[in-house]
């Protein structure tokens, strides 16, 4: 079998493929006698195989030329694998403890070979549904976000590097367009792809389509998403793009990566934690009322922002005399102006994060792709009740995002809904 042109692999043809690629076959010490291949198939977009033998194991991820969640009718460039491999390598360089290593990339086959995140790593979202606490999650996520955003921004980079990178990632436009559609457009209009817990949320969905102020604010966020090249963002940083154990946090699936607004990453993480929070009442039972767990989620939101803020400012201070071109030392190196500038920057980033986070919440309740946090609540009336509270908070957060002065105010608002 030849792999000189694209073909989707299966569990059998993948073994042939691995045998033809030295960097992968050598990982298995060229011993294929006890190789096992399993397609785990839980992605919205791609084929994902776990390959293991007595010697080693790795993951093979192959992009398909359509959106797997929807079917072959929704075309989607398989070139996204190229941008995913680029982003994995770049983000791995900036945050090596939290990004799996890439072993192999094949542009023709749209295929990435990478570290297998061994058990007990699970998708964070599944842990949140199960009610598992991750004591290092806020620490690790704030590390990853602060490092990957800071070092790819003009706070660290020259505009020469910046524009070169921006131009490269402009090529990932199809994935950007998917986000534009499913996050910023479809939830606010009639779309065949939208779905929601009907009939319970029918009126809520209609109310969104008639909420002019909400649509006005969403337009501003969409404009930032399309036009503002602030940093190399992951651009899909929800709780299913994170794999965890109690000791380890690994960020995966950056195929949507491009130069966009920083707040989109922070917002994706916060928004999905808030969805997890509101889903907890649906998972409560006699043995576990989930009250303590809800507190842990709120603390994780608060800690993540506060740690991110501290780390981001520390990186800024550390590199204030470097090549970063946004705030030249000759102009901004006095303590008073530095403080003013940082406060303004972080306030805008905070408000952006709330806005994007809210938009991500809304789309997960009324748009095409839902979340297991809610979907696993079997009783539809109960699910709808949880979803409605999340939706109402999100609408308020999106409209009032510039009025919040700190993360503790956001946590108070979450409690009130």
């Amino acid at each position: 079998m030849s792999f000189s042109e694209f073909k989707p692999l299966n569990e059998n043809t993948l073994i042939e493929y691995i045998q033809s690629v030295p960097s992968l076959s050598s990982k298995l010490a060229n011993n294929f006698s006890d190789i096992s291949v399993k397609e785990i198939g839980d992605g919205n977009l791609n084929l994902v195989f776990i390959v293991s033998s007595s010697t080693a194991s790795f993951v093979i991820k192959q992009a398909l030329p359509y959106v797997r969640l929807v079917g072959e009718s929704w075309k989607m460039t398989k070139e996204r694998a190229y941008f995913e491999s680029l982003a994995l390598k770049e983000k791995g360089r900036l945050s090596p403890d939290h990004v799996p290593e890439v072993y192999h990339f094949d542009r023709t086959m749209s295929l990435i070979g990478m570290r297998y995140l061994e058990p007990p790593h699970i998708i964070l979202r599944k842990g949140l549904v199960a009610g598992v606490e991750y004591p290092l999650l806020a620490q690790h996520m704030s590390d990853f976000i602060a490092n990957t955003l800071f070092f790819s921004s003009l706070l660290y980079r020259s505009t020469t590097e910046h524009k070169r990178e921006v131009a490269d990632f402009c090529g990932n436009v199809e994935l950007c367009r998917l986000t534009e559609q499913v996050v910023f457009s479809d939830p606010y209009k009639v779309s065949e792809h939208n779905r929601w817990t009907s009939p319970y949320l029918d009126r809520d969905v209609e109310a969104i389509r008639n909420d002019n102020l909400l649509k006005l604010e969403v337009a501003e966020l969409k404009s930032k998403f399309c036009e503002r090249a602030q940093a190399l963002i992951h651009a899909d940083l929800h709780t299913s793009s994170v794999m965890v154990t109690r000791e380890s946090t690994q960020i995966i699936d950056p195929e949507f990566a491009f130069y966009g607004p920083m707040g989109f990453d922070l917002g994706a993480f916060f928004g999905n934690l808030i969805l997890a929070f509101f889903s907890q009442d649906g998972h409560a039972n006699e043995t576990n009322d989930r009250k303590a767990y809800k507190e842990w989620i709120l603390k994780t939101i608060e800690d993540t922002w506060n740690l991110f803020h501290t780390k981001f400012i520390a990186l800024w201070d550390e590199h204030r005399n470097g090549a970063g071109e946004a705030y030249l030392p000759g102009i901004y190196n006095n303590p008073e102006v530095q403080l003013l500038v940082q406060k303004k920057y972080m306030t805008e980033l905070f408000n952006d994060s709330l806005g994007f986070g809210a938009a991500k919440m809304i789309r997960r309740i009324v748009g095409v792709a839902h979340v297991e946090d809610f979907e696993s609540i079997i009783d539809a009336a109960k699910r709808a009740s949880c979803e409605r509270r999340a939706l109402d908070l999100a609408k308020m957060l999106l409209k009032e995002r510039t009025k919040f002065e700190g993360i503790s105010q956001v946590v108070s608002a979450i409690r009130q809904f």
Copy 2:
């Protein structure tokens, strides 16, 4: 002589060059007996030749690998000629009445052959210094700006086209960096390139370097300039980039063009008109007190914004069901939300324009490149007095730009200084 690699031309070698290029020599009907070539040499950056014969005439513009104004020590890519030719063609397509036709482009020689803007066309700035009124200027400038900005924005374009164009123009980074330095950085720090009417403005210059609030606001504008790809802007739209007669308005020199914030173009034009306004007292004499002319400048500022606003909104309304992806018809096509969205968009654009315009004014008084409006006032004390009023207005405008609700408020503020 061979032209297979770059060499700067002179009045003699240019004739040889023209003879070797069919699209240029055919313009002259291949008759070189009465050809005349004149290097006009008044650009900050390039060689500019006027070629004429009894048959025809055209202009040859050649980029040099350095900033002509400063000298060979300040390197500057000659690739800018490529972006200038791209922008001339694109803006010419969008606003054919106000952009000279391109006849020829040679990337190796960094050379553009284009329409000669025949007398009585003169550089607008020279007309403003001479006190000449141009009754169609506001009409024409608002046409050019509305058309070139609207049709290159996401109000008209798909994000696919947008990102492809943004990526192309990222290559013009060296010219962007020149603007970043001379507009957003040097005026706010000690720089060998800065100059000003000394000793009169010594304290004013020092005050700018110590004005933390001003520097805070300039940082926000710089960030928009570097990160926000809103439309294909001219990016150097001052009054020396416009050639005029009473009947004709032609925009030239778009070598700085890239995808940036729309307000930078509007601001450049307004800022330079305001400089012209404040310079008038320095040009007044017994025969002409310039009072009526100052009123004409203010009226031109007001008319340009108002006409631009009307035309831009008309284009938006006309194309609201088109391919533009910023405001999809399925979400924004009800009169109430459309009104809200347009008001918010135009208010932000207005405030951006004031900010960028103010920054362009400041840099022309305390930075490397000054304007003939002031430079032609021989009496240094008188010149400094005019400059100081412009500077004080610009500082206020930059800091207070979001508080202005309309162009007539700006005109009132100009009168008060």
